[in-house]
């Protein structure tokens, strides 16, 4: 048995595992997609806007519906509850050369 064959075997083995992983992912992923109509129904019925992801502070629970007066909420400085507190506004690097993209017609 050549040394290189061991290497190729290992690579082949890893690729097999990855193949299995991809296969499993497809299955699990489609299982998730199969249950997603139920999730989507909950979203629709309760009219939810956010995922229940971090409950550290009130304003991190429904980041898209955030109160505007919570402490340190707006970037910069929004790290009192890191990383949840950073949900609302990912740092907009264009701030460095501020542009206002709100257009009124």
């Amino acid at each position: 048995m050549r040394r290189s064959s061991f290497f190729f075997l290992y690579v082949f083995f890893c690729l097999l595992v990855i193949g299995a992983i991809v296969f499993w992912s497809e299955r699990e992923g489609s299982r998730f997609i199969a249950k997603s109509p139920d999730l989507q129904e909950i979203t629709a019925v309760l009219r939810l806007t956010d995922i229940s992801f971090s409950h550290d502070a009130r304003y991190t629970r429904h980041p898209s519906q955030a109160d505007l007066f919570s402490a340190f909420q707006d970037y910069p400085g929004s790290i009192d509850h890191f990383p949840s507190g950073s949900v609302t506004a990912p740092p907009d690097f264009s701030l460095l050369s501020t542009r206002i993209t709100v257009r009124k017609r």
Partner: protein, 335 residues
């Protein structure tokens, strides 16, 4: 924006490529100035050894370049969700003025690096390394292209403004999908079809004549046709070929065919097109090198082989484009 993992990966990858290629060029500069194959000094030997480093650097550079191109297109596709009105990678690339130029420069530097490696390959076959000086001078021209590509890419990513919720007023009144440069898509499909298939035949014919004769006018002709063919083919992909793959009369995106939904058909499609036209062009470009004595016995065989590559790759390309046209019920006639 710049912290998106894909963007970080591209900037890292192409930054490294840029460093590799620039150091190759700087090292090459000394070779251009001092190279003398008849000299037996230790300095010349050091230069000779340095050529190994340069060609290694360029080879890895090319490899990473391919990777970065792939990532660039994928990232453009991935970020279209973040941009209002972008439906696919085309929309993302149109998000500002730098997207498409960055892509063009990437492709151009890919071609140049590949051409350099091909020349290097020829050069190393001759005992007197006849092309060395030219080769390293050429390297100096690749750098600005790569560099420009990197700058454009950087500007593209820095200038993308993701339209996310801002705390000031909620809705961002962004303009929805302003016409993404659709001039190519609007080229009449029937005319493009005729042009594409005619040119494919011309390309194959000139390829075959080079294979059979390796004669001067044919080689130059093949090179010219290859170049035109590259442009016409990409236009055709946008104008009608992609439509057959999507089975949608309005979807003109040249990038979505790379997605799993379309069985990754874009990869063999572009790979065959790029390699075919590349070898077509190269077999013409090396024609003048026949005059160099130490290369005169190497070139014809190589030319024939490259013309053979070019022709077979183009035939493969045409076959791939024909698959959906022949086997699916979708027709463009009505549109």
């Amino acid at each position: 924006m710049i912290l998106h993992p894909g963007i970080l990966a591209i900037l890292a990858g192409s930054g490294i490529t840029l460093i590799l290629l620039s150091s190759a060029a700087i090292l090459g500069l000394k070779i251009v100035r001092k190279w003398d194959i008849r000299d037996s000094s230790e300095e010349q030997l050091a230069l000779e050894r340095r050529t190994y480093l340069v060609s290694t650097l360029v080879q890895y550079g090319l490899l990473f370049e391919v990777m970065a191109l792939f990532l660039f297109i994928y990232t453009a596709d991935d970020i279209h969700n973040l941009l209002v009105g972008a439906m696919c990678a085309t929309g993302s690339l149109n998000a500002n003025a730098f997207g498409f130029p960055a892509l063009y420069f990437r492709v151009a530097s890919l071609f140049l690096a590949a051409a350099w490696i091909a020349l290097n390959h020829i050069d190393q076959k001759a005992e007197d390394y006849p092309l060395t000086k030219k080769k390293y001078a050429m390297l100096l021209f690749i750098i600005p292209v790569t560099f420009a590509g990197y700058i454009l890419e950087l500007r593209y990513f820095l200038n993308i403004e993701p339209n996310v919720i801002t705390s000031c007023c909620g809705v961002l009144f962004s303009e929805g999908g302003t016409g993404a440069g659709s001039s190519l898509a609007s080229l009449p499909a029937q005319t493009m079809k005729t042009a594409f298939f005619t040119l494919s035949l011309i390309m194959a014919a000139s390829g075959i004549s080079v294979i059979r004769t390796q004669r001067n006018p044919y080689a130059f002709f093949l090179a010219a046709v290859s170049f035109i063919y590259l442009i016409v083919s990409i236009t055709s992909v946008i104008s009608f070929i992609s439509l057959y793959f999507y089975q949608l009369p309005t979807h003109h995106c040249p990038f979505d065919i790379l997605q799993p939904e379309y069985y990754y058909i874009g990869y063999p499609l572009y790979a065959s097109l790029f390699s075919g036209t590349f070898f077509g062009m190269m077999s013409g470009i090396i024609e003048p090198l026949k005059k160099i004595k130490s290369l005169s016995h190497i070139i014809p065989g190589l030319q024939r082989r490259w013309a053979l590559f070019a022709t077979s790759a183009i035939i493969l390309f045409v076959i791939i484009t024909l698959i959906p046209m022949v086997f699916s019920t979708f027709t463009l006639e009505r549109y």
